[in-house]
């Protein structure tokens, strides 16, 4: 996939992996729209990309808010044109320290599902129809090894990511041969605020930097035509699993 002028929407774009993906894609010539809840870090991310000569725009919105989805999609398309690549990176752990399932409030599970699962579903529903009509487009859902492994205390987050992985596969099956590609990416453990929130005792030196992971993902996007739609791609091997 050519990255020059690629119209790209990235949720959770103001920090961590989302911001690094925005910077890397914009550096490669993509037209990037970043979505985040808080204006100040979002403006900083946009300004940083523009200062380096890239094109970036910021939309302040919560992907877990039902009323925000058509605004996000409409504003993004108004700013850069029909979206050809969406990277659904925004997610929440829920309350930290991470509780056991028996100690997880039902409302907290619902909130995690809203942000990590239903929000991406809604946004895909709005964006993938246009992609299918135009015969091209890629949806990348950022997943986690917690979607596969049963780690104690990660219940709400894990269940949301496991369901997101399966949604990815079903989107791929339903829109096969439309030219729209759906990929799950497990980026591995990174030195991010979210990781520190989840595992405060982790040694940052043992974690990957988001900028390095972003480069790997963007490199994958360049070669996305080789990955079957519905595939799950995992760090650190970056092997494709159908």
């Amino acid at each position: 996939m050519k990255l020059k002028k690629l119209t790209t929407l990235i949720t959770g774009g103001s920090r961590g992996l989302g911001r690094a993906l925005g910077e890397t894609l914009a550096h490669a010539g993509a037209k990037v729209v970043l979505v985040a809840r808080h204006k100040q870090p979002l403006d900083e991310a946009v300004d940083s990309i523009r200062a380096n000569g890239g094109e970036a725009h910021g939309i302040v919105a919560d992907v877990g808010d039902k009323n925000a989805v058509y605004s996000i999609a409409g504003e993004a398309a108004a700013l850069v044109g029909p979206i050809d690549l969406v990277i659904q990176n925004a997610s929440t752990l829920g309350p930290t320290p991470l509780p056991l399932l028996l100690d997880t409030e039902c409302e907290d599970l619902e909130q995690v599902l809203q942000v990590n699962l239903i929000g991406p579903f809604r946004l895909t529903k709005v964006l993938a129809g246009s992609m299918a009509l135009r015969g091209r487009g890629t949806v990348i859902n950022i997943s986690s090894d917690a979607a596969v492994e049963a780690y104690p205390n990660w219940g709400a987050y894990s269940a949301s990511k496991a369901a997101l992985d399966h949604l990815t596969r079903i989107w791929a099956a339903e829109l096969a041969e439309t030219g729209v590609r759906f990929i799950s990416v497990d980026p591995g453990e990174m030195n991010t605020v979210m990781h520190a929130d989840a595992i405060p005792e982790a040694d940052p030196a043992t974690l990957a930097e988001p900028t390095k992971i972003a480069e790997r993902i963007v490199d994958m996007v360049r070669r996305i035509d080789a990955a079957p739609s519905g595939a799950r791609i995992s760090a650190p091997s970056w092997q494709v699993r159908a």
């Binding site: 725009h57 910021g58 302040v60 058509y70 504003e75 398309a77 044109g81 129809g129 246009s130 009509l133």
Partner: protein
């Protein structure tokens, strides 16, 4: 015909009146049956404009006003000013807004301010304005404070998602390209499996009614559209091998036919059309149209005379009224085209004995406005 006063529970759960313009007759069908009505090699062209929340409220000259965005050009925005009130009141009953001179400002929601550049000679309510925000800040203000344009026959405020098609992208339309609203992806994928080719263009569908007689008689205003090269290629290839072109909605007809009239052949890219289509119009690109249902006093209906003989159209519409078809943006739809494939279980009603295709309908040179009146609802329902 009674207006649909709310979105249907299922977008594809609306009726389709299939009017065969060649065999001169019609039959009842449903939108989910559309793939069975078309043939392999046919091309369905949709308007993929998303719908902007184009109704903004604010204050001008010390008075509450509503601004409805009408369109956009590289140099300015076109807006129509409404006086006190909102969609609950029929547009024709709204009090007049203040007359604004160049330089006057309109303070809108979301921290947005519009400055008047000038007024149209058609109506002092049609203004050219500039907003004080640009880029992401402007779009955020519009989406934060705006609401879908709607009319008084609706029961409740419309959500933004209620006025979108399943394939919309760039928010160029200020009113929903509603003929495409009933098309669900199950139908679109079934069309593809049938061998029907889907193509798109983007057309900035404008306002239907303003309540200002002078302005309404000038509708539709010139509207911009974009035709992708892929769509031009699909249409040209289809026509060479005899495939039929079905336009979804009048906005698609206006874009395709306006393009061909201006250039002699389809030219991709962004353009503006001021084409007015009436019953005497000879379509050069579209063989048929999937359209919303409209009352017979509306120019949308009279436009359909460009696709069908008068008697067939009259008889099919009489049937639609008698059997409870619903009109307007959330209502039922009609497919007008030659040689529709009729499922065996659908009962054919012929009009050929009385139809006279050589007699044109009474031509309307302009699109007459949608009557935005609760009276319309009462009269039609009676």
């Amino acid at each position: 015909m009674t207006p649909a006063s709310r979105p249907p529970e299922r977008r594809d759960g609306v009726r389709l009146l299939a009017v065969d313009t060649e065999r001169e007759g019609f039959f009842d069908s449903g939108v989910d049956e559309l793939p069975q009505l078309l043939s392999s090699g046919d091309v369905v062209v949709v308007n993929d404009a998303a719908t902007l929340p184009a109704s903004l409220f604010g204050v001008a000259a010390g008075q509450p006003v509503e601004v409805r965005i009408a369109g956009r050009s590289p140099t300015h925005w076109s807006v129509v000013l409404f006086g006190r009130g909102d969609w609950h009141s029929p547009t024709e009953d709204r009090p007049a807004p203040p007359v604004l001179s160049p330089g006057a400002t309109i303070a809108l929601g979301g921290g947005l301010t519009a400055t008047v550049l000038g007024a149209s000679t058609v109506s002092s309510r049609l203004l050219r304005v500039q907003f004080d925000l640009s880029g992401a800040d402007l779009w955020a203000a519009i989406y934060t404070s705006g609401a879908p344009v709607q009319y008084s026959y609706q029961q409740r405020p419309l959500d933004l998602w209620s006025v979108q098609t399943v394939y919309g992208s760039q928010p160029w339309a200020v009113e929903m390209p509603s003929a495409g609203r009933p098309l669900a992806w199950s139908t679109l994928l079934a069309l593809r499996r049938r061998g029907v080719i889907l193509a798109s263009l983007t057309h900035a569908a404008g306002l239907s009614a303003t309540g200002d007689p002078a302005l309404d008689s000038a509708l539709p205003l010139p509207e911009r559209y974009h035709v992708p090269r892929r769509t031009v290629d699909i249409i040209n290839r289809a026509r060479k091998r005899g495939g039929r072109i079905i336009a979804v909605g009048t906005s698609v007809v206006r874009a395709l036919e306006g393009n061909v009239r201006e250039h002699g052949h389809l030219v991709p890219g962004e353009h503006v059309t001021d084409l007015i289509i009436d019953a005497s119009f000879q379509a050069r690109v579209a063989d048929g149209i999937l359209t919303g249902m409209h009352n017979q006093d509306e120019s949308h209906y009279k436009l359909l005379g460009a696709f069908s003989g008068r008697d067939t159209l009259t008889a099919s519409w009489r049937h639609a009224v008698e059997t409870g078809y619903l009109c307007h943006e959330f209502g039922d739809v009609s497919l007008l085209m030659p040689n529709i494939s009729r499922p065996k279980h659908r009962r054919w009603i012929s009009t050929s004995a009385t139809d006279s295709k050589v007699r044109p309908m009474v031509a309307s040179s302009r699109r007459s406005p949608r009557r935005d009146s609760k009276l319309l609802l009462q009269t039609s329902a009676a």
